[in-house]
C-alpha cells in the first residue's frame, strides 16, 4: 500500500440530509479543516452511481482514505464496502438529523454537529493505516486434541473427515474415556425405548484406522506455547520421552471425574458395600453382561434396587455440587432397565425430586421406563441405614409422609466434576489464598494449587482455560458457546458443561469446527470472534514501555506474555483486538494500525469548541461499538432526540479507553464526558469478557485528574448500557447536558 495518504470525502444529500444541512458548508469543512484532497457530493451516495463515483476516485485519483459523510457505519455496509482503502463514516443521518428537531432555531447547532463529525472522520482517516497481516504465523491445519474419550475421538474423526490431521493426547493407557466404562448408553435414536450399545469400540477402531489421526496414550501435554496457527505442544509420555509438535488450534476434551461419593456418609457409602455409584453399577452390569446383576457384598442376585437421584448434587451443602449433572435421571432409567430387561420381577425404584429427561428422546425414554415397570417416587432420601440389606429412609413428597424401603442394593446418582485444570491468576485473586495476596501484589508466583494442570499453557495468566461457575471451562455460554478466554482453544464435553456420552460426541463436532476455523483464520492473520476478519493487531513502542505489566495482566484473553526483561509479547493470533491493553497502558505506547490513541484522540481534538460565553457546551460520548452505539442508532431510527452538544465516538470496547482521551478532552474544553460500556459482573455482556469492567476500574481513578484540574466530578460519568437501552441512551446524554447547565461551562476553553 502506498504510504502517500489521500483522503476523499463524500457527502450524501439523500434521506433528508440535503434539506437539513448546508452541504456546501460541509464540503468546505471537509477540505479546509479535514484536509480532504478530494471531496464530492451526491444526492444518493449509496446508489450504484454514488458508489461508482467513489470507486472511480479510488482507482483513478489514488484516494485511499475514504470518508463517507452519510448514514451510520452500521447502515448500507454492503454498498460502502471498498477494498484496499480505509473507510471512515461521518454519521450525519442517525448521528445528527434523526436525533435533532427540524426547526429553524435548531439549524445552526445541527449544522455544527455535522461539521464536527466530518472533521472527526477526517482526523480518524488521517491517523489510521490500512492494516496488513503480519505473517507472524502461516496456516497450520494440525489440530491438537487433549483427551481420548468419545468427545476427543469424535473431534478427531470429524475434523479428519474434513481433511484436518489430528493428534489425540490421552492420559490413560487406552482410548474411550468414561464411555468405555459403561455397559450401555442412553438411547440416541427413535423410539428411544431401550439402552443402546456405547459404540465406543467401533469408534476406537475408526480412530486407529484413520491415517490422519495420531494417538499418544499414557501421555499428557507438559507445555503448550505459542498461539493459534503456531502452537507448540510438548507431548510427554509416562515413559519420560517428550516430543514437541506444532498445531494450528486445540480442542480440550478432558472430560470429568465422578463425584467422590465418600463425601456422602449419610448414604452409608463406603460403609455398606451394596451402596454403589452409577459408575460402579456400570461395572457390575458389564460383568453380568446381560445376566443377573450380583451385588458386591455377597454376590447375591439383586432382586430389588433403589436409585437416589441428585446424590450430593443441586445442593449448597459443603462438599456437594451446586449444579445438576443433567444426565443422571436418564442414566438411572437406563440402569433400572439393566435389571428389568434381565428379569421384570426385579423391583426398581427411582427416588427423584424433579425427573429431568428433556427433549423428544428424553420423554420417550421416561415413558419406556415406566412401561417396563420402573417405579418413580417423588421424594428425598435422608439416610441409608446400614444392614444386611440397606434401608433407605426418605420423605415421600406426594404421599407427604416419611417412609423407608429395604432393598438389596442402593445406587447413588452422583454427578460430574469437570476436569478443567488449574484456576487462572485472575481467578486466584478472587480467592483468599497466599497466592492471591502475592498475585495482587504483582509478585511472580508459581501457582500452587492441588489440581494438576491439563494444558500446561505457557501463558502469563495461567496454565489452563479460565473457569466459569462450578469449575466448568469458561464460555460465552449462550450465543457463542464455544468461545473460551483462550483464543484457538475450544473445550468440548463434560469439561465444558455436564452432559452424557452422546451429547459429548456431538459437542466435540462443534469444537472441532471452531478449531478448524481458528487454524484457518489465524493463518491468514485474521482476528477470531467477535472481530472476525480484523487484520490489525497491537504493537508497542519499546523505547516508551516501562514494563509495568498492566497490559499483560489486564488482557481478557491472556494473549500477552512477557519476555525475560518484562516487555510484553503480543502473540497477535491470541489477540481479539479489543484494545483493552491500549486502554491499560499508562504511557500510551500500544496501538493498532487502524485503532490507536491518536485515531480517537485526534477526533476529539478536532471537535470545534465554541467560546465559553457562546453557552454551547460540548459533551464527549465514548460508546462501545457493540451495544451502546447500536442503541444510539436505534434511538435515532425511532427519532428520539438528544442534545446537539453531544459528540459521539464509537470505541471497540470501553476497555480500550485511554485515560489520555479523558484528560485531553477536558483540557481542550469539553464540558462533560459520558462513557458507555456493557454490563459487567457474573452475567457480563461485554463481548471481551471484562473490558467494560476494566474501564470502570480505571475511570474510578479519574476523580483525581478532575481534582487537579479542579473540575466537578459530575463532568465524567460511566454507564453500563445494553443494546436494548434505546430510550435510556438519549436520556443519559440529555441529563449530562442538564448537569452542565447546572454546574456551568468548563473554564478550559481557549
Amino acid at each position: 500500500m502506498s504510504d502517500e495518504m489521500k483522503i476523499g470525502a463524500y457527502i450524501c444529500n439523500g434521506c433528508g440530509l440535503g434539506e437539513r444541512l448546508d452541504s456546501g458548508q460541509l464540503e468546505t469543512t471537509a477540505t479546509r479543516d479535514g484536509k480532504a484532497q478530494v471531496c464530492q457530493q451526491h444526492d444518493f451516495l449509496c446508489s450504484e452511481a454514488g458508489v461508482k463515483m467513489i470507486q472511480d476516485d479510488i482507482d483513478n485519483e489514488g484516494v485511499n482514505r475514504v470518508v463517507i459523510a452519510a448514514c451510520s457505519r452500521r447502515a448500507k455496509t454492503d454498498a460502502f464496502n471498498f477494498e484496499n482503502v480505509s473507510i471512515h463514516r461521518a454519521n450525519l443521518r442517525e448521528g445528527v438529523i434523526w436525533v435533532r428537531p427540524d426547526t429553524d432555531e435548531m439549524t445552526e447547532t445541527t449544522q455544527e454537529m455535522a461539521d464536527d463529525y466530518i472533521r472527526m472522520a477526517c482526523a480518524e482517516a488521517k491517523f489510521s493505516k490500512i492494516p496488513e497481516k503480519s505473517g507472524e504465523q502461516g496456516i497450520n491445519k494440525n489440530i491438537l486434541i487433549v483427551g481420548g474419550g468419545v468427545a476427543g475421538m469424535n473431534a478427531a474423526l470429524e475434523a479428519s473427515k474434513a481433511g484436518y490431521p489430528c493428534t489425540i493426547v490421552e492420559k490413560s493407557a487406552a482410548l474411550g474415556g468414561a464411555t468405555a466404562q459403561l455397559y450401555k448408553k442412553i438411547p440416541t435414536k427413535a423410539p428411544y425405548a431401550d439402552p443402546e450399545d456405547t459404540g465406543v469400540d467401533e469408534m476406537i477402531a475408526a480412530v486407529e484406522a484413520d491415517s490422519n489421526i495420531t494417538v499418544h496414550l499414557n501421555s499428557t501435554t507438559t507445555n503448550i506455547s505459542g498461539a493459534p496457527g503456531r502452537f507448540a505442544a510438548d507431548i510427554s509420555a509416562e515413559s519420560g520421552s517428550t516430543e514437541t509438535r506444532d498445531f494450528g488450534a486445540i480442542v480440550q476434551a478432558s472430560g470429568f471425574t465422578p463425584y467422590d461419593a465418600n463425601q456422602l456418609p449419610e448414604f452409608a457409602y463406603g460403609k455398606n458395600k451394596d451402596v454403589v455409584t452409577q459408575m460402579e453399577l456400570e461395572a457390575l452390569a458389564k460383568e453380568a453382561n446381560g445376566g443377573a446383576i450380583k451385588r458386591p457384598s455377597d454376590g447375591k442376585e439383586v432382586s430389588s434396587v433403589l436409585f437416589i437421584q441428585c446424590a450430593g448434587q443441586r445442593s449448597k451443602k459443603e462438599g456437594h455440587l451446586e449444579h445438576c449433572s443433567g444426565y443422571c435421571c436418564s442414566a438411572s432409567i437406563k440402569q433400572a432397565m439393566y435389571f428389568k430387561d434381565q428379569n421384570p420381577a426385579i423391583d426398581t425404584t427411582v427416588l427423584y425430586t424433579d425427573l429431568r429427561t428433556p427433549g423428544a428422546g428424553g420423554e420417550n425414554f421416561y415413558r419406556s421406563g415406566q412401561q417396563k415397570g420402573v417405579i418413580f417416587t417423588k421424594g428425598i432420601a435422608s439416610e441409608v441405614v446400614d444392614g444386611a440389606n440397606p434401608t433407605v429412609k426418605f420423605k415421600d413428597l406426594i404421599l407427604d409422609e416419611d417412609n423407608d424401603l429395604e432393598v438389596d442394593m442402593v445406587v447413588l446418582a452422583t454427578g460430574m466434576v469437570p476436569n478443567s485444570g488449574q484456576p487462572t491468576r485472575a481467578e486466584l485473586t478472587d480467592m483468599d489464598s497466599e497466592d492471591a495476596e502475592a498475585e495482587k501484589a504483582g509478585e511472580e508466583v508459581e501457582i500452587r494449587v492441588d489440581v494438576e494442570s491439563i494444558l500446561n499453557l505457557d501463558y502469563r495468566q495461567g496454565k489452563d482455560v479460565p473457569h466459569m461457575a462450578n469449575g466448568f471451562a469458561d464460555s460465552h455460554f449462550i450465543c457463542f458457546p464455544y468461545e473460551t478466554q483462550r483464543t484457538g482453544i475450544y473445550t468440548a464435553g463434560p469439561t465444558r458443561r455436564p452432559m452424557d456420552s452422546y451429547q459429548a460426541r456431538e459437542d466435540a463436532v462443534g469444537a472441532a469446527m471452531r478449531a478448524i476455523s481458528e487454524a484457518e483464520n489465524a493463518g491468514l492473520g485474521r482476528a477470531a470472534h467477535p472481530r472476525v476478519g480484523d487484520l490489525s493487531f497491537p504493537t508497542f513502542r519499546k523505547e516508551g514501555c516501562t514494563q509495568c505489566k498492566r497490559c499483560t495482566v489486564e488482557c481478557p484473553f491472556g494473549a500477552i506474555n512477557e519476555d525475560e526483561e518484562g516487555y510484553p509479547i503480543y502473540n497477535e493470533s491470541r489477540c481479539r483486538r479489543c484494545g483493552t491493553c491500549m486502554g491499560a497502558c499508562p504511557v500510551r505506547v500500544i496501538s493498532f494500525e487502524n485503532y490507536s490513541v491518536d485515531t480517537v484522540g485526534q477526533q476529539l481534538k478536532n471537535v470545534d469548541i465554541p467560546d465559553e460565553f457562546d453557552e454551547k457546551p460540548r459533551i464527549l460520548v465514548l460508546a462501545c461499538e457493540n451495544d451502546a452505539y447500536p442503541a444510539l442508532d436505534m434511538a435515532a431510527q425511532n427519532r428520539l432526540e438528544y442534545s446537539a452538544f453531544a459528540r459521539i465516538i464509537p470505541v471497540r470496547c470501553l476497555g480500550s479507553t485511554s485515560l489520555s482521551w479523558i484528560t485531553d478532552s477536558l483540557n481542550s474544553g469539553f464540558d462533560g464526558i459520558v462513557l458507555m460500556g456493557c454490563p459487567s459482573g457474573d452475567n457480563y455482556q461485554c463481548h471481551f469478557v471484562k473490558g467494560s469492567l476494566m474501564a470502570q476500574e480505571r475511570m474510578s481513578k479519574v476523580g483525581d485528574t478532575l481534582e487537579t484540574l479542579n473540575l466537578e466530578k459530575e463532568r465524567v460519568q460511566t454507564f453500563e448500557i445494553s443494546i436494548t437501552d434505546i430510550h435510556r441512551v438519549p436520556q443519559i446524554i440529555n441529563e449530562m447536558a442538564e448537569t452542565i447547565e447546572q454546574i456551568g461551562m468548563s473554564p478550559f476553553k481557549f
Partner: protein
C-alpha cells in the same frame, strides 16, 4: 375376610402394584402415571375424595393395599370421563376406578355402607335378573337400602318427584308387577354366568 382376599395377599405378598396389574380392569396402566394430578383436579366430585386418582396410583405403587381397596374414594366416580380426556398419559382412569371398586367388592373388603356401592349393586342385580332395568323397582329398593325407616323417609322425600314422573308417564306404577324384560332370559342369564366364570377363572390362577 374372604378367602380370595387372603389368597391374593398370599399370592402377591407386598407387591400390590403387580396384584392390581393382574386383577384390576386396566390395572396395567397404573405404572404410567407421572403424578401431574390433572385427574384429581378434574373430578366433579373431587372434594369428596379421600384420595384422588393420582394419589391412589401412588399409594398402589407404595403398596398401601388395604387403604386403597377399603377406601370410599373410587366410589365417588360419576363416570364423567373428564380425567380420561385430560390425562397426558392417556390412562383410562374412570375404568381403573371402576376396576378397583369391583375388585374390592370381589374380595369382599369394599366399604359396605357406601351408598353408591349399594346402588351400583342393586342396579346390577336389577338388570341381571331381567336383562333390562326396571326403574321403579330399582328406585324402591334404593330407598329401602338403608332399612325400612330410612326408606320411608327417602320415599316420602322423593314422592313429589315420583308423582311428577307418573303424571308425565315417565314412571309406571304397574311395573311393580313385572315390567320390562328380555325375551331370551335363559340365554341372557347363561351368558352372564359364563362371563362371570371366565373372569373368576382369570383371577384364581
Amino acid at each position: 375376610m374372604s378367602d380370595t382376599n387372603t389368597s391374593m395377599v398370599e399370592k402377591y405378598r407386598n407387591n400390590f402394584l403387580k396384584e392390581v396389574e393382574a386383577n384390576v380392569e386396566e390395572g396395567e396402566w397404573v405404572k404410567m402415571c407421572m403424578q401431574c394430578g390433572v385427574c384429581s383436579g378434574s373430578c366433579p366430585l373431587g372434594p369428596h375424595w379421600d384420595h384422588p386418582p393420582q394419589e391412589l396410583f401412588m399409594m398402589i405403587r407404595a403398596g398401601k393395599r388395604d387403604e386403597v381397596l377399603e377406601s370410599t374414594s373410587m366410589w365417588m366416580c360419576t363416570s364423567c370421563y373428564n380425567c380420561i380426556v385430560r390425562c397426558p398419559r392417556e390412562l383410562p382412569i374412570t375404568h381403573i376406578m371402576h376396576g378397583l371398586a369391583h375388585y374390592a367388592t370381589r374380595l369382599g373388603i369394599e366399604p359396605k355402607n357406601q351408598p353408591t356401592r349399594k346402588f351400583a349393586q342393586l342396579f346390577w342385580d336389577n338388570l341381571a335378573r331381567n336383562g333390562r332395568v326396571n326403574e321403579l323397582k330399582l328406585g324402591i329398593s334404593l330407598y329401602f337400602m338403608n332399612g325400612i325407616v330410612e326408606g320411608i323417609k327417602t320415599a316420602l322425600g322423593m314422592a313429589g318427584i315420583g308423582m311428577g314422573m307418573v303424571k308425565t308417564k315417565r314412571m309406571n306404577p304397574m311395573e311393580i308387577l313385572g315390567g320390562h324384560t328380555v325375551k331370551d332370559k335363559k340365554g341372557f342369564q347363561a351368558m352372564i354366568k359364563k362371563a362371570q366364570e371366565l373372569e373368576a377363572a382369570r383371577v384364581d390362577n
